[in-house]
């Protein structure tokens, strides 16, 4: 197995950093190496951490005000003139309100526009349901030409942001608000479109994206103490999905659980199911939001309330293993 260089204390005592910091820092690194990169903000510059880019490269930062539709089509125009624009705002706004702009103006023409989609998931916390993007992956991954990446932690968000500039065409990078465990390091491999096996296992596979990768690794520890060997896959790129790694896992473990901080309908779990049911059907369980809105609260309490903790993954894995035997 190749060297993963995961963070040593990743599970026991992880360092905690918000993924959005990775977006902000990734943009600053990109700004240094690529003069074509420009960043657009819609009055949420510090929340999206794009103030870091704005302060480093003021002449390449464009404020459109609270006008997300204009921002998306404006970015299309910038890309038509050779820039690599990163539009940045909360997921509900940049993928929801500006969906038609993303679909018809950006994606139809395969324009080189990148979408920094923040505040993904219920872990947004106190702002409540209006600000918790739970449908963004579903509604962007169904648009042709669009790449959708849901990085697991700070380091991976930083790498995904830098990688996005080298992918030709629209890329959505989905990240969150709150501090989450940093499980990878600068040296951990990241290739867009390539899922990584973070832990080998033979009884069941847990494929996860975003901060659910951490929860899955914790779940694997618990499962192991119960005699179940779980394979953990970090499937950060939801589209194009790494079918090969998923099909191999289904063949070798015979049961699959998906874990996402997003609606299971149409989201990452659905994407995995689309691959497996057509290639190698095995019992599946989906951990994620079950057709409901979020609410205000402490992020950790919300994760528990909506069934997004390691314990929920353990339960789903045990059920999937049982289904395989039945």
């Amino acid at each position: 197995m190749k060297e993963l260089n995961l963070s040593p204390g990743a599970i026991s005592e992880p360092e905690m950093i918000p993924t959005r910091f990775g977006y902000g820092d990734g943009l600053v690194e990109l700004g240094r190496i690529n003069p074509s990169v420009v960043v657009l903000g819609a009055d949420l510059s510090s929340s999206l951490c794009v103030d870091r880019f704005r302060d480093a490269f003021p002449e390449r930062f464009i404020q459109t005000g609270i006008a997300e539709q204009d921002m998306m089509s404006f970015a299309a125009g910038l890309s038509l003139a050779g820039k690599i624009p990163f539009v940045s705002t909360y997921g509900v706004f940049c993928t929801g309100r500006a969906w038609d702009q993303l679909r018809t103006t950006v994606a139809y023409a395969n324009l080189n526009v990148k979408v920094g989609s923040g505040h993904g998931g219920v872990s947004v916390g106190a702002d409540g349901a209006t600000h918790q993007a739970l449908e963004d992956v579903s509604i962007t991954r169904t648009i042709p030409n669009v790449t959708v990446i849901v990085p697991a932690d700070y380091q991976e968000t930083l790498k995904a942001t830098i990688a996005a500039a080298s992918i030709r065409g629209p890329v959505v990078i989905r990240f969150g608000r709150e501090k989450v465990p940093v499980i990878t390091t600068r040296e951990t491999p990241f290739t867009a479109g390539k899922a990584e096996v973070y832990r080998e296992g033979k009884d069941v596979t847990v494929a996860a994206c975003g901060q659910m990768v951490y929860e899955s690794l914790v779940a694997a520890e618990i499962l192991s103490s119960e005699g179940i060997s779980a394979r953990i896959i970090n499937c950060h790129t939801v589209k194009p999905i790494d079918s090969e790694t998923l099909i191999r896992a289904a063949k070798e473990t015979g049961a699959v659980v998906t874990a996402e901080e997003h609606q299971v309908m149409g989201g990452f779990g659905s994407a995995v199911a689309e691959v497996l049911c057509q290639n190698y059907p095995v019992p599946m369980k989906m951990v994620g939001i079950q057709d409901t809105f979020g609410q205000s609260g402490d992020p950790d309490d919300l994760m528990a309330e909506y069934g997004l903790k390691a314990g929920n993954i353990v339960k789903a894995a045990l059920e999937a293993v049982r289904m395989k035997k039945g």
Binding site: A67, Q69, D70, F74, A76, G77, A81, T105, Y108, A109
Partner: protein
């Protein structure tokens, strides 16, 4: 304007109108009304004002034209073909299976198109983005964006209007085809647009009103745009929807409908009798 140039632009506008009627008739569907109303504006832009090179559609130094009201693409396809971007015969493939001339513009298929449009309300933002990039790169290319008047119902137009004036995009020229009609009827019955010039002025734009069927007037307006500074310009072109084909003129019903074979013959006959 010198006589020969005026005659040339008028004859190109006429050729565009004839092409529009033939194309939409052959396709059996499409949007004749709003295509005919922009024929004169498109003629002046493509055959006089804009820097572009049909033999090199991606020429870096070209001016850019965004058709925000994408449904009027027959007018632009006609101008591109008459200008030599592709063979005129291809015009008759409009809206057919496998055609590069899609029902609404697809920039990936047809050279000469600068954006894929058809979802109304987005063109001015796209054009502003291009104009902004030109400013950032210290280039002096100009960007033109043709909008419908009904299209101005879209909130995004006014978001773009604020953004463009905020960034003083004086290399950007919006053109409104003020034909007074949209699908459900008169623009001011559907939703009050007037006082339209005041609205644009209030948004920080330089406003020029022209007769959208007078080649001289359109040229003069575009010339004033090229000499204005610090503000984006909008040219409000007063037009007649369906212009040139009397039974289509001022009829909301001819927004999105193809003429029958008899109607097509009558329309082409009328256009052929136009005196230039």
């Amino acid at each position: 304007m010198e006589e020969a140039r005026l005659r040339h632009l008028k004859s190109m506008a006429l050729a565009i109108r004839q092409d529009i009627v033939r194309m939409v008739a052959e396709a059996g569907s499409g949007h004749p009304g709003g295509s005919l109303s922009v024929a004169d504006i498109v003629s002046v832009l493509f055959f006089d004002v804009m820097k572009h090179d049909p033999s090199n559609p991606c020429w870096e130094e070209r001016d850019r034209f965004i058709l925000s009201k994408g449904h009027a693409c027959p007018a632009v396809y006609a101008a591109l073909a008459e200008g030599g971007y592709f063979p005129r015969e291809e015009l008759l493939t409009l809206r057919k299976f496998g055609a590069r001339l899609q029902g609404h513009p697809d920039m990936c298929k047809l050279p000469g198109l600068e954006a894929s449009t058809g979802s109304l309300g987005q063109g001015l933002s796209i054009a502003s983005g291009i104009a902004m990039a030109m400013k950032m790169d210290k280039k002096n290319n100009r960007v033109y964006c043709l909008m419908g008047d009904g299209e101005l119902d879209e909130g995004q137009i006014w978001e773009a209007a604020m953004t463009a004036s905020h960034y003083r995009l004086d290399n950007l020229c919006g053109i409104v085809d003020r034909n007074g009609l949209q699908i459900d009827g008169c623009t001011d019955d559907v939703k009050t647009l007037e006082p339209l010039s005041d609205k644009w002025r209030a948004f920080g734009w330089n406003v020029i009103e022209v007769d959208g069927h007078s080649i001289e007037d359109i040229s003069a307006g575009l010339n004033r745009f090229r000499h204005s500074h610090f503000k984006p310009t909008v040219i409000i072109g007063h037009t007649i929807k369906g212009k040139g084909v009397s039974f289509m003129e001022n009829q909301a019903g001819w927004h999105g409908k193809a003429p029958s074979p008899e109607q097509t013959r009558a329309a082409l006959l009328e256009l052929s009798q136009e005196v230039i």
